[in-house]
Symmetry: none
DNA sequence: ATGCCTCACTCGTCTGACAAGTTTGATCCC
DNA sequence: GGGATCAAACTTGTCAGACGAGTGAGGCAT
């Protein structure tokens, strides 16, 4: 272990260190969600100064490979799926991005739900209802659940009759429900029954308000649902 | 010159500096091939230590925006000029599109204003204030007014600290303020003094709520402003 | 058992210093 | 004058030490 850095490549020690760490991550030696060695460890292992280590980690950060938290350390993010998943998949990576996305969805979707309640047609309501049933029926795999969740939110947006809302949600795709790999496992798979019933209840509240043509209730219900989702993630 | 860095964004000084420099490059203030200010200059201009400056430049390097040579300096590379949001610049043509757009903006911008009130930094508030002044000063042509109006709304979104809001507004551009040609003359140019003062007042209300850190008031003020704009168009 | 609090650990920033590469300009020689 | 030479100034690269700020674990009192 711990081969010292080659000091004669002409591109700088920080560059060398970045390459080493990148290789480790891409090779899976440090898996997504795991912690990068501390700065002190890297200083010892590679025999360089803290300046170099910090610059290297800083570049990994800029490259979207790790996310750093003061007082805790740097954590490896999901490896950019080389299969060209979607361009947008690279947009939500860090923990902060997820929280920001939920704040964004609060603004967009609560108003969309309100408009949906006020302007929906019977047909649109039926579509929302179908999505809700798909979501609550215990039929599918976890992957299917994300898909169904997204479809419910999309149908609500469609019921608003405003193409800007529905187009925006459609452009996000199911990705908007997805969560970062870092501590996702910890918070989402631990979804005990309590979690699921609570989320289901929140969805039903949104649906009922739309069915009742109660705009204010629909806005509140959707805001509550998303704010709760955000809270469920923020302090695991 | 040289506005000092905002030390309260919670993402670190280096991050702030990166954003500043990135903005300069993207805005074309430093053209491809030109030299970035030296580290010493940046230290002086932004009042930070060399550590921060070096990390920032290092990140620009990782992002592929600059290339650095020992003993010479950092030079700006070609600009990719890509926007995060791929929301197509959907044309707003029909009268209904305009109303839908305003309904959409109600959802997006009222929440953005609320978040801005709750999370803004002093620097962001100053930016909003400047935009407001530009808007109220009777200096410019009508075209300039649209531009200034847009800038105000964008600065509010930026003050939310959530890139999804600001990216979305930025992707729309001043176009989102524009109105259909059909009855534009009728509704906007006939804008007697009453109209203008009323709109100005609405903007000021938004600003004041953000300054007071009153999230609920900011949401209400922005919603009112956009709802009024909608009403001013709906039944002229 | 619970809640609070201290303390060690980690990252964020600052300061000062020296090494290594580049540019500039004065100097010297022709 | 023109060209080669070289020292000094400037720029980036690296090192070392220090302190502040946020986090988390373990101990302590209740």
């Amino acid at each position: 272990m711990s081969v010292p850095l080659d000091r004669n490549t002409g591109r700088g020690l920080a560059y060398e260190l970045v390459e080493r760490l990148k290789a480790r991550i891409l090779a899976g030696e440090i898996r997504p969600g795991e912690k990068l060695p501390t700065e002190s460890s890297l200083i010892e292992e590679f025999g360089v100064s803290r300046t170099v280590v910090r610059e290297a980690v800083s570049q990994l950060q800029a490259a979207g490979l790790v996310e750093t938290f003061q007082g805790r350390g740097s954590f490896v993010l999901a490896v950019p799926a080389s299969t060209a998943f979607t361009v947008e998949a690279t947009q939500i990576r860090t923990h902060r991005d997820v929280l920001d996305m939920l704040d964004f969805r609060i603004g967009v979707e609560s108003e969309a739900a309100g408009l949906a309640a006020e302007r929906r047609t019977e047909l649109q309501l039926k579509a929302v209802e179908r999505a809700l049933v798909d979501l609550t029926s215990p039929g599918g795999q976890p992957g299917n659940a994300v898909e169904a969740d997204f479809r419910f939110h999309l149908k609500v947006a469609l019921a608003s009759g405003n193409r800007f809302y529905s187009d925006l949600l459609a452009s996000f795709g199911p990705m908007m429900i997805m969560l970062p790999r870092t501590r996702l496992e910890h918070t989402y798979t631990v979804s005990d029954a309590t979690h699921l019933t609570r989320v289901t209840l929140e969805h039903e509240n949104v649906y009922r308000a739309i069915a009742d043509r109660d705009g204010a209730a629909a806005r509140a219900a959707m805001r509550l649902h998303l704010a709760n989702s955000r809270a469920r993630l923020q302090a695991p």
